[in-house]
Symmetry: C2
Subunit: 233 residues, 2 copies
């Protein structure tokens, strides 16, 4: 484990436990490095990673201060399944459909394949505490992974992809709202015309290839997106 990483972990833990009070100075980098027996660049790298996380603020001529907390976790490309699990919500999935199908113009554009080319259509219902939570509709390139329904019911799509050797890199998302159709309302246990939270997402791996196009709807009465943003300096 790299030294700068160990140090940043220690500092983060110290901040978390209140051993480093919010607003307090961290002590200058030169002394800190000498005291730890490290070089200044190494110490700087550790500090920088915490600055990027929003836990610290640097000011030239002044020092490095612990930010007055409230920072929990910045927005990351997360899986609904993992989020629910982390929140202790007992997530579960029912696979409604898993079938090849020719790509429509919209899907083809999103995935960067030819219109009419075969893609895998996935329709799932996601539960939390045995209550329906979201209706998930995904399109994947046909030959990307073999995702049997069994594995998809016991975990999230992203975990299946990662296990299949795909390195997720970035995603383009769009979050909106609309009224539920009759069919959607029935599936999710909402009244007709109830407001739904919608999310469209195209996910890319580190070669820039689109690996997933998702069109999801969430019950607005039971779900909202929560996240933390940092100002990029």
């Amino acid at each position: 484990m790299p030294l700068y990483y160990q140090l940043s972990q220690q500092l983060e833990a110290a901040i978390e436990r209140g051993r480093l009070a919010p607003g307090s100075l961290l002590g200058n980098e030169i002394d800190l490095a000498a005291r730890l027996g490290l070089s200044r660049p190494t110490v700087r790298q550790a500090i920088q990673s915490l600055v990027d996380k929003g836990l610290l603020v640097r000011r030239r001529g002044v020092g490095t201060q612990v930010v007055h907390s409230q920072v929990k976790r910045p927005l990351e490309l997360s899986s609904l399944y993992d989020d629910l699990e982390a929140a202790g919500q007992r997530p579960a999935t029912r696979v409604l459909r898993r079938t090849p199908r020719p790509a429509t113009a919209e899907v083809a554009a999103a995935l960067g394949v030819a219109e009419g080319a075969e893609v895998l259509l996935l329709e799932r219902l996601r539960y939390a505490h045995d209550e329906p939570m979201a209706y998930l509709r995904n399109h994947l390139p046909a030959d990307l992974i073999d995702c049997d329904s069994e594995r998809l019911e016991s975990t999230g799509l992203y975990r299946v992809m990662r296990a299949g050797g795909i390195t997720l890199h970035s995603a383009r998302q769009s979050v909106g709202a609309r009224a539920a159709t009759q069919e959607e309302a029935g599936r999710l246990g909402e009244p007709d015309g109830a407001p739904l939270l919608t999310m469209e997402r195209v996910t890319f791996d580190d070669t820039g290839r689109a690996v997933e196009f998702g069109s999801h709807v969430y019950r607005a009465s039971r779900y909202s997106f929560e996240f933390q943003l940092l100002v990029r300096p």
Copy 2:
């Protein structure tokens, strides 16, 4: 202007213009540094900033590759006014209310002030192309800035804050949806019960002080949040 910044700008421009093709190797850092007359750490710092932006991918033993694009701009703490302006949407604002008022329990908790303490309530209607777009309701600490209605109508709240010497640092957001009340529907020109996109946000400055608590509703028929996410490694 720092050297590493100049270099990262040049590289970014080269990628943008296609002079560096997606998927192509960048050439090893040692040669690059020698060719440019820079040290390797400087070159690495420039490359690292583009990796953080999602434009490049590094692989030990292989090299640094240009990612297959699609990356536009990562999610940042942005102002609706600036976003609309950047999209050429002719933003405009009408200030409906600007009045001191004692903080409710919810507002007090969000801003970290005492319940009943005086805060500034701000209600605005945001237009795009002369069409109502969103109803913005903000609470600010009473003595934070003097924001006359005039300035608020000609620009966004964040710009007023920055001009007042406040350094924005982070925000905690929550995005959801619900049906419009009769009053909201009337104000926004939507039918009763129309789905609305909601956003709550507490914004902090770099000392950790809460500087704003906003509860906004957007016409779902005319607005959605679009952003780009990167996987944090």
